[in-house]
Symmetry: C2
Subunit: 459 residues, 2 copies
């Protein structure tokens, strides 16, 4: 099968697509600001209306927050169904005075469209809409069944998505899910993300004396809670930046040889990375490369610490309380609940006498690893080759994407296709967010190719 | 010499003395509140006027803050001069609704006068004024030369006292200084404080990556500044709660055998102390008693710590910065500047690679030890025996009193008599501050006896 006719359609309509995207980007759908509630609703309605014009069965579902769009077109009982996920809400634009052109007055220059939401995520969602439009226009039909789920609360942590998935399992049934809410490995290095780290996020609360004490009058009588906290925090790592919690590494699946080789071949510029981080040397677990450490090895970081006097000058106090936030990034097959229990046991073992410590498990995410051997993953790789003109690299991501766990847990989806059409320097969450119009075009092509690949039709 | 005639005078005027004290306590001379500036001035004028009525040469000296009262009566070229220090400003009364009677409506009940400043320090200053009054009334003269220095900024750290002492060295020349701005060891256990700990107060500022980083995207690449800070903080102590800084103990004068024996005989109720502190066990340096540890041994305490996210919930951040305040209580002959340098060297040695650490020496106080063998100290002990009817205990105080260092350094005074007429549970700085009327009477008697003892006249 040849897609040239469709690609020609995409090219000839490129300017109109961009104009429509500009219209969508003009709506300030900032989900965290209540005074933009109407704008968020309007962006949702705009997308739902476009879905209807494309021939999809589209509906805006209210939630206790912002609405969810669910649109589908499933004419083929014998063909696979692809669920496409994205979001139409955006980050706040602040600091507004750092934008060259206003965040909600989308402007095209140097081959990019600049606006809040351009890359994250309206522009990427839009590639699927335009792929559907082009296919419908040229062929009158889609090669597979398609469901679109576009939410309005991603930037505030998707608080109502889990309940929505739970209530609409049947409607959302699919064979694979495509999520384009991220980036290529580098500009013009398209990527498929096949691994995400998990998370176990803990809080330590140490209590010593009943009240804050004068360190002159009482210094020498009590265990200082900050001292005890420091002892606990120090005990969590050993030399070589290994986590010192008993059993922490027991469930870790070692990196395969092919995977280490593939990672070593990725074009990571360490000098540039150090400059970005503002450090003279990278630091991490002995025996692993920076890329392995940041994406495929578990880590432990202290995210916050507090206690006593933090103001200007000197206050001679022995505080009653001190605390810290500690989180661990997990890799397959580490289980967050099990890791939290090991953490708890470790703290109980090392906590000095003279203080009480409370350990709270605040937050969890399971690590995700999608098999590269899955037919849908292979199909996505071929689609990107068609759309971008080069093979994608396979990468793992150091962070967690909570919605991915939702899709796994609520819908049982294993074929999770993380296909970022953006670039790492698109400025998602920053001033002057942008989306390359070339990536926009390649993303639409890739989406068209993906529909065909999943249908088993070679382009 | 017999003081009974004077003591009778004191007893017969007791009610009037209390009424006058109530009048002084009614003035809300809160030095830290600018809206009470006029009240602070008024309290100063009230005391200066009383000094003049007693026959002293009294003057209110303006400073860049609140005024200082200097009053003197020095008729004897051949007799010693006693400088008496106190303050007429008070702590804020908040929380006001916890007071049984209003803080500036002094009320007598159960043998105490309740008001802000009752014990700290108006009531104690007043004992010297009434001692002078009674002596003048009965004998027509004082047995020694007396100078009174009463400041209005003690509760805000005496910011202008050092300059004042420097400018008026000659006027302030004396053979001994009496400071009654503290407490007995316990109710009816009068005390002479002969030792104060010094202080070296440090700040640590640790800087890692240029900006706060996402702990998912970057965890495994950099040394976490809180981790580095914890490593430094942990390194400051060894087992047995000893300070691990090289050379820290080199200048420490060991406790004398007689001193350890005397401390062991002091009536310290450990159960009560633990209940007050809210701890199940006391904790401190091996080989020393609680009282030795809290008053006569050097200590190190972390007074504050900060870095990263300390709010509710979870934020996955590797902070760019973290910091801590660390102070060391020092004993003779530890020098704060030398200790600060040792601290700095230690931190440089133990700070992990991958972060920068800045060490700031914020504040210093030299330790003070007054020889019990000084004639003036022995005179004070006999005076307390006369005034309170029992020998004082000799104690060391764990805190530092910055003004004591000022008197040593600016005026060269060695005979420092720290004679607290208050009680540990008088509630200085707390709601329902009070002063025992019996201690008030005994304080006046002791002051009278002190004047005679210093003159070399046995009572």
């Amino acid at each position: 099968m040849n897609l040239n006719d469709i690609f020609e359609k995409i090219d000839s309509n490129h300017e109109r697509y961009v104009q429509e995207l500009v219209e969508l980007l003009s709506i300030p759908s900032v989900s965290t600001y209540s005074h933009h509630k109407g704008d968020v609703q309007r962006a949702g309605e705009w997308i739902a209306a476009m879905c209807q014009r494309l021939g999809l069965d589209a509906r805006l579902y209210p939630t206790d927050g912002h609405p969810v769009i669910l649109a589908s077109h499933c004419p083929h009982a014998d063909r696979p169904t692809l669920l496409i996920y994205g979001h139409y809400d955006v980050q706040p634009p602040e600091p507004v005075d750092e934008w060259v052109t206003p965040p909600f007055s989308p402007t095209v220059r140097d081959g990019f469209v600049y606006a809040r939401g351009a890359s994250d995520d309206k522009g990427q969602v839009f590639t699927y809409l335009k792929a559907i439009e082009a296919l419908m226009a040229v062929r009158g039909e889609l090669p597979i069944n398609v469901k679109l789920l576009v939410e309005g609360e991603e930037e505030i942590g998707s608080p109502h998505l889990g309940a929505f998935l739970g209530q609409h399992k049947k409607l959302l049934q699919a064979d694979a899910i495509a999520i384009s809410d991220g980036a290529q490995f580098a500009p013009d290095v398209p990527a498929i993300t096949y691994g995400l780290r998990g998370l176990a996020y803990m809080q330590l609360d140490v209590t010593g004396p009943r009240v804050d004490l004068h360190s002159g009058s009482f210094g020498g009588l009590v265990m200082n809670p900050i001292q005890a906290l420091s002892t606990i925090l120090c005990s969590l790592k050993t030399d070589g930046d290994r986590v010192a919690i008993d059993g922490f590494y027991d469930q870790v699946v070692d990196l395969a040889q092919w995977e280490r080789k593939a990672m070593a071949e990725l074009p990571l510029d360490v000098d540039q990375l150090q400059e970005y981080l503002g450090v003279e040397d990278l630091y991490g677990e002995d025996g692993y490369s920076p890329l392995e450490r940041k994406t495929a090895r578990p880590t432990l970081d202290i995210n916050g610490v507090w206690g006593g006097f933090a103001g200007e000058g000197a206050k001679t106090v022995i505080p009653s309380k001190a605390g810290a936030k500690v989180s661990m990034r997990l890799v397959p097959n580490q289980d967050p609940d099990r890791i939290a229990e090991l953490f708890r046991a470790h703290v109980a073992k090392v906590c000095p006498a003279g203080v009480q410590v409370k350990v709270t498990h605040l937050h969890s995410a399971k690590p995700v690893l999608v098999s590269r051997d899955l037919a849908q993953v292979q199909a996505a790789a071929r689609a990107i080759r068609t759309g971008f003109g080069k093979d994608p690299v396979f990468i793992r991501e150091g962070g967690s994407i909570p919605i991915v766990n939702l899709f796994k847990e609520e819908l049982g989806l294993e074929a999770i296709l993380l296909l970022g059409w953006g670039r790492p320097d698109d400025g998602a969450h920053s001033p002057n967010e942008r989306f390359s119009l070339e990536d926009f075009r390649k993303g639409i092509r890739s989406a068209v190719a993906l529909f065909h690949e999943l249908a088993g039709e070679q382009p």
